[in-house]
Symmetry: none
Subunit: 228 residues, 4 copies
DNA sequence: GATGAATGAGTCTTCATTCAT
DNA sequence: GATGAATGAAGACTCATTCAT
């Protein structure tokens, strides 16, 4: 009944395995998960799993890709209709925090650089796509001059994702902390730091820009001498 | 020179094993690490490891405790002589980021709540002691009215540690980003959000700081070129 | 010839493992036997053994059950067509002694209540089924009045099995002793003690019966006072 | 205080180890017993055990020898003052059964031909000395013509020891069976088979014996009820 | 003689992967 | 394509025995 064409049937089975893998990996981590268990959960024979995924590592990779792809899509939707920069960031933050909390295990499993032996070189790729959602908002904010000119893109990004991730961790332990307050505070903080206030004196801005250039130069110097 | 009393020798061996374990765990994670390998690295027989640590899990536990204890101590020292709140936070941030970058693997391994199967219930305990260093600074800042009254302690903490952690991750991938700039930006951000404003022009402070860095960088350059 | 259906092949392999285990256990005892060795003897890989028996203990259990089941069956057959009590006992004794001598190691291994660590709780169960063969003969002998009324069932049983077991042990050491002579002597002894002789004066019988009742009463008394 | 001469101190330590070994072996069997545990129980260092016994096997051997030596001595004492053959056998049987029941684990451990790997080739030797007590009685019985001329020595011995051993096993499981009744029945059986009949009414003897037991039981009862 | 820390060979067991059906 | 029985390498842990102090 469900699925008729050969192609559909294949995809359906692949999906089943992937979902089974997700469960197993999240429950027990990469090493803890058993292929036999995954097969059973997916309702297929052990050997069958290997028809779809060459190795356990491969299955892990696929699972991670799948997960982040899904997340990215959701993030993009959440942001789609937001016009103003901080409004969009607010929406993204809310969505992200929600995702982090809901699927914390996966995120953790996924991004811990080296999911120990499931060596998934390329995990980062999927996360990049996700992070790109933020980047787009930010760039547009700069274009629209809703963000101060001296804002350093990646620094803001670190604060954005870093804070949320950490918050997700603590929120799980302290159920009295609300997601909303975390998001509000983060946005407020970013605003205070990066939003363009019309009152700001241009002269300040100018010297600030100069400082910024100096900063870049010094950083380059530091790196140069460090490497030497 | 190399230990004489029985007690010293025992402690020395325990330390050797712990260090070997650290290496192995960091390199390969809990599951990936091999007891045989740890023993070899420590220069003892396999069975000997079990004289000091009842099980692999136990060894992991000891390693984690050891690591965080050390980190905490270092953080406390770094902060000890700092009076003003943001000065102290600056020092702590610098130290923390340094630690994170240097021993990123361990931190990751350690704090990913569930190092899968090495189940180290109580890891959080060690981190708590570490986080307490921040808490003390913050509370004093409130007492001294250097922080705005509406500041929410834990939110600030999330931003502080979250940003640094995330930054550590990205810095490892983008060598052109400096630790100093990350710290500067974070402190600046926190100030903008939580500092009680005293009219003082912030740019002055900042440029001063930059001058210091510039001086240091140039000095290094001079040394480098002298050597070449 | 050598099995065709899947089911047959599986059973064949299980049997092979069980037989290999029997050999190993008998040769070296529970602790002495090596799973690797059993696997090799059975012509399968080490892991395969674990597909059929969850653990070494489990394998031991199966082996013991198997062995006694087989023995019981053989004993029942041997006795099947014997009518008169002592004739049946003779057949059983011959069969039992034969079994004991042939598979002495197993019996010893098996019944030494505590095969140390192969802890086979329930071994006794299998032996019970075996002993039941004797019991049936004895009860019928009582019913048919071929045994004196005062005969105590379990005492006779102890002599029967005890003598044979011990004899099996000594026969193995002194090859000049024949099984037949042992069985003959045992049956003769039991006859002298428990067979109904028509010549016996009724008066004697009567007093004997009285003594028997007294005996029972005393035994009860002894137990009572012991327990108190 | 206890033990002064060097020799005494040594023997005392050896005894301590032997006793510790006995405990361990009986509790856990040969393979189950740990040398470290034995050392601890004996209150000496692990290495010390090896100063007294070359190997674990050796220790086992010594323990077995010790055990049977003691048993033999007790059996000889029990029999010492008995004149008539069956009287002596009765005493020996009672003593033996008592021993078997009390120290069943050891006997089992000891005599199970191959205490698996503790390979004690020579265990039999110790048992031989024990069995010799029976042999002496029997031979004297033949000399005195208290036993029929056709009696086969070893067959009688098998029945004697075999029955008692088996009975010991069952008695442990059925506490309502008394040792006395087992011994009585065994002696009665042997008499019926091997005693030279002297017309004397056996019932008399038996009833006499029963009277003794009755008296003893009643006495115990009296004491019991007094206490209550 | 005594100690007990150190050794390392030897065990059971697991599990990713293969392959005959 | 699917199955699942079979494989066997690998790993944590134990414990009799040794030996430097």
């Amino acid at each position: 009944m469900t699925a008729v064409t050969r192609r559909e049937r294949v995809e359906q089975k692949e999906r089943a395995i992937l979902e089974a893998a997700a469960e197993a990996f999240v429950e027990s981590g990469y090493d803890g998960a058993r292929m036999a268990d995954i097969a059973k959960r997916a309702g297929v024979a052990e050997g069958t799993v290997y028809l779809y995924f060459k190795t356990k590592t491969d299955l892990m990779r696929a699972f991670v890709a799948d997960f982040w792809g899904d997340l990215t899509q959701r993030a993009e939707q959440a942001v789609a209709d937001k016009g103003e920069t901080f409004e969009a960031l607010d929406a993204l933050a809310a969505m992200h925090l929600q995702n982090l909390i809901e699927r914390f295990d996966v995120v953790e499993l996924t991004q811990s650089g080296r999911v120990r032996r499931g060596d998934t070189p390329g995990n980062r790729e999927f996360m990049k796509a996700y992070v790109a959602v933020f980047d787009r908002i930010w760039r547009r904010g700069m274009d629209r001059s809703e963000l101060i000119e001296t804002a350093v893109h990646w620094q803001a990004r670190d604060i954005f994702f870093g804070s949320l991730e950490y918050a997700a961790r603590t929120i799980r332990l302290h159920r009295d902390r609300t997601q909303a307050s975390v998001v509000d505070n983060l946005i407020e903080t970013l605003k205070k730091r990066y939003a363009v206030t019309t009152k700001e004196k241009p002269s300040t801005q100018k010297s600030e820009r100069l400082l910024q250039r100096l900063e870049a130069a010094v950083t380059r110097l530091e790196n140069t001498s460090n490497r030497a």
